[in-house]
Amino acid sequence: MTDQAYNFAYLDEQTKRMIRRAILKGIAIPGYQVPFASREMPMPYGWGTGGVQVTAACLTPDDTLKVIDQGADDTTNAVSIRKFFQRTAGVAVTEATTEATIIQTRHRIPETALTKGQILVYQVPIPEPLRFLEPRETETRKMHELEEYGLMHVKLYEDIARHGTIATSYDYPVKVEGRYVMDPSPIPKFDNPKLSDNPAIQLFGAGREQRIYALPPHTHVVSLDFDDHPFTASKAAHDCDLCAAQDSYLDEVITDDQGNRMFVCSDTDFCRSRREAGHLGRLGTPLSEVEQ
């Protein structure tokens, strides 16, 4: 079968309609996990099929798509997914956050603030925030229905009792509009504040687990904590060695056999824009044609 034999963005219109209905339900009930009939996609479950289905349902021919994984456009799975949509949808693609209308992401929220009209699609492995406290779906569903979230706070209490602090550094649970506890996907907790009051639409797709959930623009999202152990969006206490950014999430890179290391922005587009604007870090040099 040639690529021309596939519908725009691969999925047939009936399937897109089914996914859009699930998305609308999700937007109507922020943070609530809507079951949907996830389709078999040409990439494996666990590799972003939920995100891909959500993106495919949202794409129009006029969209500009950005795909990132770990904050970078050039990681293998981001490349693979971007190519998939170039082949099956023929949409324009970009690495620049400001130019994208739809951004599919795995494990990061872009550093550049999003704007009204943009859609951020998250890839979610395990949508259920209570899953590792209670393995049974039949039970966690009831807990959400009845707002029985005591167990979640018990886990946080135990962390503080044992470690002196809450020991969750990513996939940090949040409460949405004071009602549903939600799993924000495995973004580092540093990114959690960006979830709240965001002008963009945020959609979450879990293909294997067959769930979609959503945050409409300007939703109030709070990371769970205790009054006397408040949530902190922490990161490594360094600046970016390339662009000197102080408030961006950093990758740690081991540079030689002696274990020397450097820290660079995880968000490659953000870092490059800063360097283009003249900001240079400890190890940064002006961008040359060689690197671009």
Partner: protein, 371 residues
Amino acid sequence: MYVAVKGGERAIDAAHAWLADERRGDTGIAVLSVAQIREQLALAVNRVMAEGSLYDPDLAALAIKQSRGDLIEAVFLIRAYRTTLPRIGASTPIDTGRMDLTRRISATFKDLPGGQILGPTFDYTHRLLDFALMAEGETPASVISAPVSSPTGETGVHLAAAVPHVTGFLNRDGLIQTETPGDSTPPDLTREPMELPATRPLRLQALTRGDEGFVLSLAYSTQRGYGRTHAFVGELRIGTVAVEMDIPELGFAVQIGEVEVTECETVNQFTGSKTEPPQFTRGYGLVFGQTERKAISMSLVDRALRWQELGEDFTGAPAQDEEFVLMHADNVQATGFLEHIKLPHYVDFQAELELIRRLRREAMAEREAAE
């Protein structure tokens, strides 16, 4: 000076080219044809059709060729293809009572109407590697002729002779629980999200397309005491059945093809109470192709999962735990999620690194302060 790692796209293209080379293997050796796989590796083809939930031996053979023999990868290819196919309609339920039998055995009776037909089975072979097969020559043709097919009926539908099920005999005497026939269309697991608690049709769908190894091990566990159901193979039959569709414009059903299936019915331990006289209970398995091991395993696990409706106790056996069985039976989902841990996770790992460094710093500081 550090240059960010780039070139993911080129790496992927190179990897795919190398993969194609490996798949072909030594070019001095003849290419494997799809027809050869279909004919000579039929049991692999059957497994891929069963777990892919798509009956098409040629496509399954192609998937096996493309996946270099990795059957789960082949199942994945078939499933991804299946998703794109338009749905024209649904057939009527197949009638396994009217099957062109290749094989039919019952462990519960020595002899029975329709007979015990051994069929092409490995059962009584001696498992000795046959080095004659390594030679490239042809094996002599077998002396067994093909089974005679039944005459065509008047309506144009190819009618196999009806061979009654063993469970039918037991049912007539009231010895085995009746399965109440229903009118409603069962939900389609590939079109609707799995919802728990599941109905029996949904469980059976999940089992027939579930991983053969997983279902086998669960069945085995019931035989070893983890939710024992005392299973007897009442009937195992393999053969082809007609697939028919109702055409409203014609006003009758038309045969659109035939499929080979394996059907297993187990007769299991009886239930009963002070008010109800005891009856045998049932397990059921149905799989595409000649796929015996899977069909028998499926009926054992089906029976184990029926504990609640039969008023039995939940002993904590894995095979009785519906959520555990159904959520983990799908090997395409399983391998996808398992293998995804190969993907970069360095952002989250970085967060954990920072956390653990901080906790260790604080613990060390406390220890020093205490000394």
